[in-house]
Amino acid sequence: MRLTFFFDEKRCSGCLACVVACRDEHDIAAHLPAYRVVRGREDGPFAPGVSYSSLACLNCADAPCLEVCPSQAIFRHEETGIVDVRRDLCLGCQACAAVCPCAAPSFAGDGLMAKCDSCQSRVAAGLEPACVQTCTTGALRFGPAS
């Protein structure tokens, strides 16, 4: 099984609750990037309103980051398919960032890769990722890729 995020663009209001929930869950200081990124544009499908995207690691089936990581720091949890990083193995080479379609990896803190882990510890405890639970409109969901 591979778990992933689903995003309903129509429902997203750009309320940014997911971003702050991500910071609270992972204790990410305000000057560092959150693992979930929300962007708005006015030329999208809901013009003249703002169309938003809310993006984090999707645990891609053919995750290119896993392929390019020279130190095998990036790995996949077998039961959930969640793509995660062992930061003690990361070299900070940023090869993963170059190939990621979601711009999930960031290197802003200590220079080592940090990314969304689908709130792996919450998922293991039977909970939804923090961003999904807090989503005020139900735009974000999480579940098996099929």
Binding site: C15, D24, H26, D27, A30, E42, Q133, T136
Partner: protein, 708 residues
Amino acid sequence: MAGRKDIYLPGSGVEVKKTLCAICEGASTSCGMNVYVQDGRVLKVEGMKEFPHNRGTLCAKGNATRQYVYNAERLQTPLRRVGRRGEFVEISWEEAYGEIAERLLAIKKKHGAEAVVFAVGYSKWLRPFAQRLAISFGSPNFATESSTCHFATVIAAKLTYGAWGAPDIANCRSLLVWGRNPFFSATPAARPLIEAAERGVNIIEVNPLVTHLSRYATLRLAPHPGSDGVLALGLARVIVDEGLHDREFIERHTYGFDEYRALISRFTPQETERLSGVPAADVVRAARLLATSGPAAIMTSASSTVHHLDGVQNHRAILCLSGLTGNFDAPGGNHVVPETWLHVGCSAVTRQREFTFPRPLAELPPRVGADVFPVWCRFVGEAQAMHLPKQILSGKPYPLHAMLAFGCNHRMWPGNDVFERALEKLDFFVDVDLFLTPTARRADIVLPACSSLERSELRFYSCDHVILTEPAIAPLGLARADSDIIIELARRIAPDDTLLGAGYEACLEYILQPSGLTVTELKRHPSGLSLGGRPGITASGHYKYRQNGFATPTGKMEFVSTVLGEMGFAPLPVAAAPGGDQDMEAADFPLFLVTGVRLPMYMHSRTFRNPWNRQLHPLPTVSLNPQTAAARGIGDGEEVLLRTKRGEVRVRAQLTGVVPGDMACIYHGWPEIEVNRLLHPDRLDPISGFPACKSLRCAIAKAPPLPG
């Protein structure tokens, strides 16, 4: 200590406690919250999944609760001013209580109890306790920031129907959402609104701004700011012209329909288009949809329609559409549910009124604002807070000498520099707050209050849920619950009030008594409990006016308000052209300034201290339509001067097509700029006393470079 990732593991030593969010705190917010606590400290928060009000969600503000509660700027000890305002020394609670009691009792003896004002801003949960203290002390002057929020809509509803009716979103087929964007202001309403749209409910959105709701709307009307009343009268004319009104209801249950009919006859679709900017064809379509696809409910805002000089009349014109189409107190329309507690109506009955008013206000001297806002005083059992600065400065009709305030934010007042002068004139000013705010800095004594996580709170919800929280963590430093502060002061300044003197839980038992709920039972249900099916609890029925009439002087729904007529105001919901008093052609001030439109990460001034919130929108901005900006040579992110007749602020332009071309839209709570100083303190609706925050004329120009 467990690592962060271990907090969900059994045996981690982390306890999940149930509480309410500390930030917005109101009838449509107050979200249920889980806090993960270890060694007395909150490690993480999340929405309470089993809480029916917010169903596990929290907004961008609520998710930053840890940065609010543990903010380095939290006040942790009582302070007393030494020398100039803003300079303090730490004192003990005993010293603080002793001095407050001594000063207030001396002022009462010399000038009368009414010379002491009791004011509550945020939080709001303590209002009944603070008002009871004021009245037991002998002062009628209890005032809240609802003098600029929500209560004018209640006045409009009471003038027209004798009661306020809540939109029945679950059962309506059409929903008129007028000037409200709960996706940013009250997120628990977000999912119910989307679900309604997905069920096929026709959403008619009235809003000059494009909001998230717009994409779900069957029809969107974008009137000029302040022309809401005109638009509502135009909709009414189409409904009546086409014979779509509810004749039987009007015949049997309304007063003044003929005069109303004569009034609306002026507002043809073409005239409505000319005055409001809404295309005539859309006026016709919206009116037909509203009247023929019922039941139809009306959802309004706490401020957008009433922050105008003729705000109450605007709002009355909108509310009349409900009766006109037979939807008032109907299933799927606007349902009247008597208030249970803290502005929320549900099936439970409490003794809120008896608790709040130990004596009738009529036995006390007239309230602040009684001489200028008699309609307000007739319908709202509080002083009109907008008039406070004026009465403090003028001493008329009687002098005010002291203020005991809880979470007061003087920057919310229009022309707040006037309130600053007034605060300095007071002989004695006490402010209770979590932070040393710009208002608290002007106080003689500042007392540190608890956040909601550190104290108990009783809340009812319109979905028939009730919760009594217990403290999830110990108070920070020496902070105390506002209720405990009120009770301790009552023992000293109102010793005859034995109920307050008996303490918080004794008060709750008294308040809860008719509901059959007890403190003990509520404490056994930390996530709260559902009122549905409880013995002795009956849901409010529909069409109650058929038996009881309406609680108006005529016993009918009043198109023509007898109260407004008696008090010298237009008895019909006559809405003037937007902007009313201003020269609309004046080239100097060509745009409407709209202050107070919500941003999703801020709540008045409360969350600017949270880096997680501030990071999302760091700099003050004014939102402008790209064409408006281009005509002035202003680029996105460039600095502009925003100017009214009263002053100017320097702020960055944010260009966005969601704002119409005739408007400049700015959030009101920025710490760096005094937005409300741009407003004139006397530009108030004479019926409600509400400030006209949403139809002031302004000008925008590219800012010259700063010297140096």
